[in-house]
Amino acid sequence: MLRSKSMLAERLVTAKVSIAPLVTFRLLFGLLMLASVIRFCAYGWIHQQYIAPRVYFPFLPGVEPLPGVGMYAVFFVMALASAGIALGWFYRISTATFFVLFTYVELIDKTNYLNHYYFLSLIAFLLIWMPAHGDFSMDVRRGARRATDHVPVGFMNVLRFQLMVVYFFAGLAKINSDWLLSAQPMKMWLSANTHRPVLGPILRYKLTAYVFSWFGMVYDLSIAFFLSLNVTRRFAFLCVVVFHLMTWWLFPIGMFPFIMIGLTTVFFSPEEHLKVLRQLKSLFRWQDSPDVQNIRISNPLVKLFAVFMALQVLIPLRFLSYPGDVFWTEAGYRFSWRVMLMEKAGSATFYVRDSDTGRQSMVANYEHLTPQQEKMMATQPDMLVQYAHYLHDYYLQQGMTDPIVTADVFVTLNGRPSTRFIDPEVDLSKRSVIGSHSLVLPHTH
């Protein structure tokens, strides 16, 4: 028993393999992040999301965008750090900087939360601790560190684990009656694409929506497994490419498909990565130095990864500890790999009432929020409460006596008719963000 345990530890953690998979992972991640940051700037989203809004919905109180050109500076440094990661140039500083800045930006406003941004934060965090700059990097070239040709397999396995978690929980979340038995919201999504060339006519059939829904579920649950097996890997990767290109073609999901296609290559064997790395090296006339540094995976690091992995399993399951339908209340919805899973829309009409005179005004959301903020706020209880707090303070400043803030909120889920979301009599400004999901009325349909 003890022996097999230590053998398992050796196979999964300490066994030495080529560093090549880490190097290609670093290259791909750095380049994809650089492209993402440039794309983000080019679309004008820095201004739109972090400068133009008057109000923000931070994940943690006090996290705010920098004033002036500060946010542009943040993205500029992020671009530098991405390049640094790709080049392996001041690698630890680059990864740490990227992780801190990227995470900071994501914490500013819940409006902009995307699962794949969270995923990128996690990967950046993991990369800080990995010796991915051990070969074919500026750090080696400039003599800041000696080259490494073999590393413990544990490093790759943590990355593989992270990808497994993303896919597996995304698959688990798809096991619900709307997704599987009604093929919703897939039908809504596909019916909007029936005019597309080539595949459009097929998308017209309900059966297609069922096939897509079920295939998506099976794909998500099993792909990491098939990527892990030698026999099925190539075919599985082909599925990855086709699946993500398909989602890119059908849905507005930005860089995510390319990020997943790029990063799932970490499942390929070290030998295959080595082949690629050798080609890259000859292309750039890279001279291998005979002086090689041995790398171990330290005990504290193993512990850090173990805690990280445990959390990655527990966090997506936390929704089980809340009552009610997670799709409706969104308690435990974020950080759980619920990707492209539901179609939700709402309208929230806020009222502020002077506690002294009892006189009331209706709030013009568009005077305070961006359309995107208004849309996200209208269906998520914690954001409704955050907005109510803001309105309370705003109207207090306008001279109102202890404003009572209530909201008439109607929400529709997966194409069902809209129903009332929260009690319209509750003074939301007196509620706390923590526990705000208990404000949500039961979903009747």
Binding site: Q48, S177, A192, R204, Y205, P252, I253, A345, G346, S347
Partner: protein, 364 residues
Amino acid sequence: MRLLTVLFLALAMLSSCVSDKDPFGKMNDFDQGPMLENLANNLILPAYLNLRDKTKSLREAVSDYRLAPTIESLMASREALKSARLAWQECSPYQFGPSESNGLAGILNIYPVDTLKINRNIESGEYNLTTLANADARGFQTLGYLLYRPGLSDQELISSALQSDRLYADEVALLMEEVSSAVYDQWSSQGGNYLGTFTSEDSYGVNVGSSVGKLINAMNLDFERNTRDGKIGIPVGIRSLGEPIPHACEAYYAGYSAELFSASIATYYTLYKGADDVGLDDYLQAIEATTTQNEDLSVRIDTQFKALINAGNMLEDPLPEQILNDQVTVQTVFAEMQRLAVLFKTDMASSLGVVITYQDNDGD
């Protein structure tokens, strides 16, 4: 063989759980093409053409009035102003594409206007009407102010002392004509052919950037801000603790606010019905959108429109007076609009799969 039987049984059981009666059939799909063609050719383009013509007549009338200020030319200008305003009501829901890029709504119909600013501009003679700073010193209501100047008789209005008023009015009208004409040209197939873009297959679908996406978003935005809040909500005091602000009415000086309101609602109803052809109601019927009571969403919205039109019939001009004397009636109209706004923004947008966001962004 046994495996096949098991598989078959499993499939059979599964398909019996499936909520669809006919999972092998086609989806309730809807060909957007005819609807977009109908809306563009029979509603939107004619509306912009009419606006171009009416703002042109308006500018001509105001020029005549400047060159020869008589009671007749004053009356003709007022008449032309009203026609142009009615023409605008039919364009207001379509503030996307050329009208958006030209800032048409901001040139034509910002109110209430800043009369101090208008008078300052007239006195100094130094102003640039195209700047944002002058958004509340131009447009229909500025002309309304200058053609009806409260406290002055018609005889006083045409006096030579007010020649600089007429000069200013002429320039305001000229800018309105130019921009309206530019918007029509950009829509027209002989000009920028935005019509072609709007109805092309590349613009089908409901994503951000699709024609239906743009239309539904523009319509929601205009209905909420300009029709619900601008025409009724703000004047009746919905944003000011119930304290009415009569001077915030559209056409406050000219005195036909309620008439413009009816025209606006009628435009929305026509858009919804697609006039006599394919419209949003047909779209909703085709995809079998329903409400909580299992009622057709298209019928529910239709009913709400009728309720709103009925309530709207209780409005009287001059609306500013009615707001002061009979606030409750006006508040009833607002409440009906609010109900319609929720149906638009939540049920209709979601049934169609249109994301209500006026900006491009990633989802996941």
